[in-house]
């Protein structure tokens, strides 16, 4: 029994000791893989240089894991000093409840409005004219990755766009190659849908549905084309028996699959496998048809803390994250695009350069997180994954169910 008490005493002492130094800031995030951790290290290095201390609270698993942690810590009265969230509407309610630190003053002083590109990133941090988060990077999901080896084996040239790809699919099948690799997790089917919607449907349709929530457009003939393309994709993905997105990417790397639709983070996998963009694989943003990218990504929120010294340190942290130096250092390690238009990433690779080019020309869309609530997005996930796996659902059925979700969307 004595050792037991000792344990407890030691442990509670440990818990107390953390609150002594006022400028220690605990930061929760879900960047835990190699490249991600290296990117976070850049933030921590720069923050420590300001005389404060970054206390790392990494938890992998994305929002599904982070959300319970955040909400528990905040309602438990013991929040972290900063936490990562996808910008957009996910943290809206916490802001409304007055639990988040208002960054407007700092943002005005530093002129965030003028430096953040695209401006929609800052918009999604804004509620009632006040700014509550710092966007730190841009990730875009609308990329088609193609294996050169697979197309060579099938004896067809590597496609330059979606239509050529669909036309080449039978040849790939004949050669024993899986035309399209697709993981089973629901978000992957929805990601594919998002890419097809902009790639096949084009910008106008995309805007009508996603921004104006126009139900007629969702039911209309243009959208029917999108669902027809989804049916093509379903046909092409038939027999793709993997779960994780990177298992699917691996099929493209090894040439057992012709292609995959996945976000720009897939690049990490190609790099690790020593593949060269343009030689071993191709990347087509917007499926090579409508080269638009959506600008989702990550942002940091700062829960309100009682200690004024910590609050001051929180602002320093926010200011550091958006600084030029931090943006370059962080994004090069992370492989994502910076949120400032005024910096130069010379070290970027081919695919990343394509992304930067699109960023410059302004062919950008807000991300799904920015236009639909998490609830609606989950409904899309469910519909798409069901459609992609169940051939008894016709494109027409799927379209009418899709329209119904758009109609009830919030």
């Amino acid at each position: 029994m004595n050792t037991f008490k000792l344990f407890l005493a030691g442990a509670s002492a440990l818990a107390l000791s953390t609150t002594v130094n006022a400028t220690d800031l605990e930061v929760t995030h879900w960047w835990t893989s190699g490249g991600e951790a290296a990117a976070v290290a850049e933030f921590a290095r720069l923050f420590d240089a300001t005389g404060n201390k970054w206390v790392d609270g990494a938890i992998a698993g994305g929002g599904g894991t982070a959300r319970p942690v955040m909400i528990s810590r905040i309602t438990g009265g013991d929040p972290m000093a900063a936490t990562q969230f996808n910008h957009g509407r996910q943290a809206e309610e916490l802001v409304e409840a007055g639990l988040m630190l208002d960054l407007t003053e700092l943002a005005e002083k530093e002129g965030w409005k003028d430096i953040v590109n695209p401006p929609s990133l800052l918009d999604s941090c804004t509620l009632d004219g006040k700014i509550y988060c710092v966007p730190v990077n841009i990730h875009s999901p609308q990329w088609l990755w193609l294996s050169h080896a697979a197309f060579e084996k099938a004896g067809v040239p590597v496609p330059n766009n979606w239509d050529e790809y669909v036309a080449a699919a039978p040849k790939l099948r004949e050669a024993g190659i899986q035309p399209l690799a697709l993981g089973q997790q629901p978000w992957q089917s929805n990601l594919l849908f998002g890419a097809v919607q902009i790639g096949v449907g084009g910008l106008d349709l995309w805007k009508q549905i996603n921004l104006e929530k126009n139900v007629d457009a969702a039911k209309g003939p243009e959208m029917a084309k999108v669902f027809q393309a989804m049916a093509d994709a379903r046909e092409m993905a038939d027999g793709s028996n993997v779960q994780d997105w990177n298992q699917a990417t691996n099929m493209v790397i090894t040439g057992t699959a012709g292609g995959q639709i996945m976000g720009d983070w897939a690049q990490g996998e190609f790099q690790v496998a020593n593949q060269v963009a343009g030689k071993d694989y191709s990347c087509l943003p917007g499926l090579g048809v409508h080269e638009y990218l959506s600008t989702g990504g990550d942002a940091f929120y700062f829960p309100k803390l009682k200690d004024p010294e910590k609050a001051a340190a929180q602002l320093e942290l926010a200011s550091m994250m958006i600084s030029k130096e931090a943006q370059v250092a962080f994004n090069l390690k992370k492989g994502s695009l910076p949120i400032r238009g005024d910096i130069d990433l010379a070290a970027a690779n081919d695919c990343m350069k394509k992304g930067l080019e699109i960023l410059k020309t302004g062919n950008l869309l807000p991300s799904g997180d920015q236009v639909f609530s998490a609830d609606t997005q989950t409904q899309f996930n469910d519909l798409m994954v069901e459609f992609m796996n169940d051939k008894s659902i016709t494109p027409e059925d799927a379209q009418s169910r899709y329209a119904a979700i758009v109609e009830s969307a919030d």
Binding site: G63, G64, T65, R67, P68, I71, T75, Q90, A91, E92, E93, L94, A97, Q184, Q185, P186, N241, V242, Q243, S373, A374, D375, Q377, T378, Q379, D382, V385, E386, F387, M388, N389, D390
Partner: protein, 303 residues
């Protein structure tokens, strides 16, 4: 035989030894039952009638959450899966658990080794073992491929990629993980059984299997109740396994209620919907539990 059972049942000291110490000792249990489980349940039920999204908010909207719940095809599939998985899991866990325990109880050699082999899956986190089962059951590089490469070309075994049978693929992994513990419980139960019963049965010339079925199993009633509750609560809470193996797929064919609830709460940020789902689950539990409690305690003179 009859004497033993009779004494055990009727001579329980019910009010004979009223004791303060017992009541004091039971305070933590009473507090837990009332504050946490009752309190938490009522809280859940109340908020299932609200529009709570990311945060619990007392903004009541009547039965809307329930209407949405029952009109969702995902919830329907989840319930169906739970029933199938539940029935199979119950039967197989009990049978495999008991048979293995009985075999281990035969004074065999290497008992500790065998027991550890059967129990070790219980110790491993399912995040990764789910991945391993996913590989083993994958038609492209798991069992199917191995059997086909041995020459049986038409062999087909792809439970995780076939909507019709995916729930059985999950069952295979579920039994793998859970039966070890059931076996241990049964073994502990068998070890608690009077040695003389066996001698008496042997003297009477009753074959071993008959002794098990007609004498030993009825005597292990209490152990079976414990195992039943453990298995059943595992069925209701089934979540990690599905996420690790199929994330609910192919399509939404392997969704389960706990996953529906969790996804609603933390992915969709629709707490109210999650609470409505869990209220339905708890209601189902109550429907089973109350008659059981009545039988267990209401008819005290059972025998």
């Amino acid at each position: 035989m009859t004497t033993i059972r009779a004494t055990a049942a009727t001579q329980r000291p019910i009010s004979l030894f009223r004791n303060k110490a017992a009541k004091i000792a039971a305070i933590p249990m009473i507090l837990t039952a009332l504050v946490v489980f009752m309190g938490g349940t009522i809280w859940t039920v109340v908020f299932s009638f609200t529009k709570s999204r990311l945060l619990p908010k007392a903004q009541f909207i009547g039965l809307d959450q329930y209407e949405r719940l029952w009109s969702s095809s995902k919830w329907g599939i989840a319930i169906e899966n739970m029933v199938i998985y539940g029935l199979c899991s119950l039967v197989f866990s009990l049978v495999i658990g008991f048979v293995l325990a009985a075999l281990l109880d035969q004074k065999i050699r290497f008992e500790n080794t065998f027991r550890s082999i059967m129990l070790y899956p219980f110790a491993l986190s399912f995040i990764v073992t789910g991945l391993v089962w996913q590989w083993i059951l994958n038609p492209d590089f798991g069992i199917q491929k191995v059997v086909r490469s041995m020459g049986w070309e038409s062999f087909s075994f792809d439970p995780l990629n076939n909507q019709e049978i995916v729930i059985y693929g999950i069952l295979i992994a579920g039994l793998w993980q859970g039966t070890g513990l059931i076996m241990c419980l049964m073994l502990a139960g068998l070890r608690g059984i009077d040695e003389d019963i066996w001698k008496a049965a042997r003297v009477d010339g009753i074959p071993a299997w008959k002794t098990y079925i007609f004498i030993v199993i009825p005597m292990m009633r209490a152990v079976f109740v414990t195992t039943l509750v453990i298995i059943a609560s595992g069925i209701v809470k089934l979540y990690d396994l599905v996420v690790a193996q199929t994330s609910g797929g192919p399509g939404i064919a392997s969704e389960v209620p706990a996953k529906y609830v969790y996804d609603a709460m933390f992915l969709s940020q629709n707490l109210g919907q999650g609470f409505a789902g869990s209220t339905m689950m708890l209601l189902a539990v109550l429907i089973v539990l109350i008659p059981w409690a009545y039988m267990e305690f209401g008819g005290r003179q059972r025998d």
